[in-house]
Symmetry: C2
Subunit: 258 residues, 2 copies
């Protein structure tokens, strides 16, 4: 740490160049550390799966104590941005199958079973956005969207119809040279370096249109669960707008608190 023993914090740093501001009416140190690390995640200095430097190294670099770094890291672990493994290090979270399943995909079989459904692409294009898409994805004038729809099935039983819109700016070539795979979030991350960190879902009950009824093998007008989801990056930029309409005869949406 290369710092002299100090009895009083107020004088301890007076002779050092401040890598981190010494907090006169400013943010707490651990939040400044948090912000610095968060910035590096946004900038892909450390990519998903990478190990961060050890707490001691970070503390030395940022000229704070190990405990302060630890508090910042623990906060980010609680947010699911990082994870730690004793004896190994601290790592940047990835969109693994497991994570997708437990963090973002909340549909389960009525027997409690949980698995990612298969997807069948219906159509996919780059095009001009609708007014809603401009609002939701916070698009600049002239910006385009990638828009596609698909049907998702559990054990070959069609169950979900969903429409997805992405800001084309973040996903060049998508929809022209590249087709979307089943696990979208991992695709966004590994191909485009865009990591989804937050999501907000608005859920309601609707009636199946004739077209949806045909795709799902149900009657027109049957009740469907509509999940309208906005996904955002760590710094709050919109990444994806998805509207899923689900036949809940054999599945339901699960929400736990506490």
């Amino acid at each position: 740490m290369a710092r002299p023993a100090a009895k009083k914090r107020s004088t301890a740093k007076s002779a050092k160049r401040p890598a981190v501001k010494k907090r006169r009416r400013s943010l707490p140190l651990y939040q400044q550390v948090d912000n610095i690390i968060r910035r590096r995640l946004v900038d892909n200095v450390w990519k998903p799966g990478d190990a961060l430097p050890s707490e001691m190294q970070l503390a030395a670099e940022l000229d704070v104590s190990q405990g302060t770094v630890r508090k910042a890291l623990n906060d980010m672990v609680a947010e699911n941005l990082l994870y730690r493994r004793q004896g190994l290090g601290t790592f940047v979270s990835e969109h693994t199958e497991r994570r997708a399943l437990f963090f973002f995909f909340k549909i389960q079989g009525k027997d409690g079973s949980s698995s990612l459904p298969e997807s069948e692409l219906l159509d996919c294009e780059q095009t001009d956005p609708t007014k809603d898409e401009v609002d939701r994805l916070e698009l600049e004038p002239g910006a385009k969207v990638v828009r596609f729809t698909r049907v998702r099935s559990f054990q070959n039983v069609p169950c979900i119809v969903e429409g997805i819109a992405l800001p084309q700016e973040l996903f060049p070539d998508f929809g022209i040279e590249l087709q979307p795979p089943n696990n979208l979030f991992r695709f966004y991350q590994s191909i485009y370096g865009v990591t989804v960190a937050k999501a907000r879902e608005l859920i309601s009950a609707v009636s199946a249109t004739r077209k949806e009824a045909g795709l799902l093998g149900i009657k027109a007008g049957a009740p469907l669960l509509q999940i309208d989801r906005m996904s955002m990056t760590i710094d709050g930029r919109p990444v994806e707008w998805r509207v899923s309409r689900c036949n809940t005869s054999n599945h339901h949406y699960v929400s736990e608190r506490g």
Copy 2:
């Protein structure tokens, strides 16, 4: 704290009576502290709204350092069991209107507005449980339930029909001498000392029965959002089984992550 300065932890406590086990292949100290405090919450030693002793007092009583108490308390604050106010103290969480609104009641107007709906009781009785109720509420043979149904309205527009079942054991006289008020969780807490700390919801889309359609002023067969919720105490005992069926023409269920 009344403890001699100690250079080595392994010998520091050898001459003291252990209020807390000194962790030989046992739980970490802060988890033992957590469990002790949790126990006192379950036993209503400290009731909702009460201030806990200060960190220093707890540390002295339990013969650990203030930092260890702090970690235990912070974990429980993260779980919403406690809250802290700088300069004042640490307090046991209550089921205030605000908390009910933001933690357990996730229905919002489509304009983003959020308020608790009014309730109209339809019927209320103490009776023998159905088989499902025995399962869900983990009832002993011979145990009874309190069961009631109500219609909830936003600005006098009926919107939700819900059926609720409680283990009668936890709520004596309820349904006979006492009628349920609008804010149930606060009622459970203030009258019966039962605090809901956890909930799990299963959500699906269903069709309105003729009876529901009449109550909500919609057509039979219209889509409703069904929320099937189990509520539990801090130590996992079932408190309430509630099935709400909501007209989502003007409202939706909100779920946020990250």
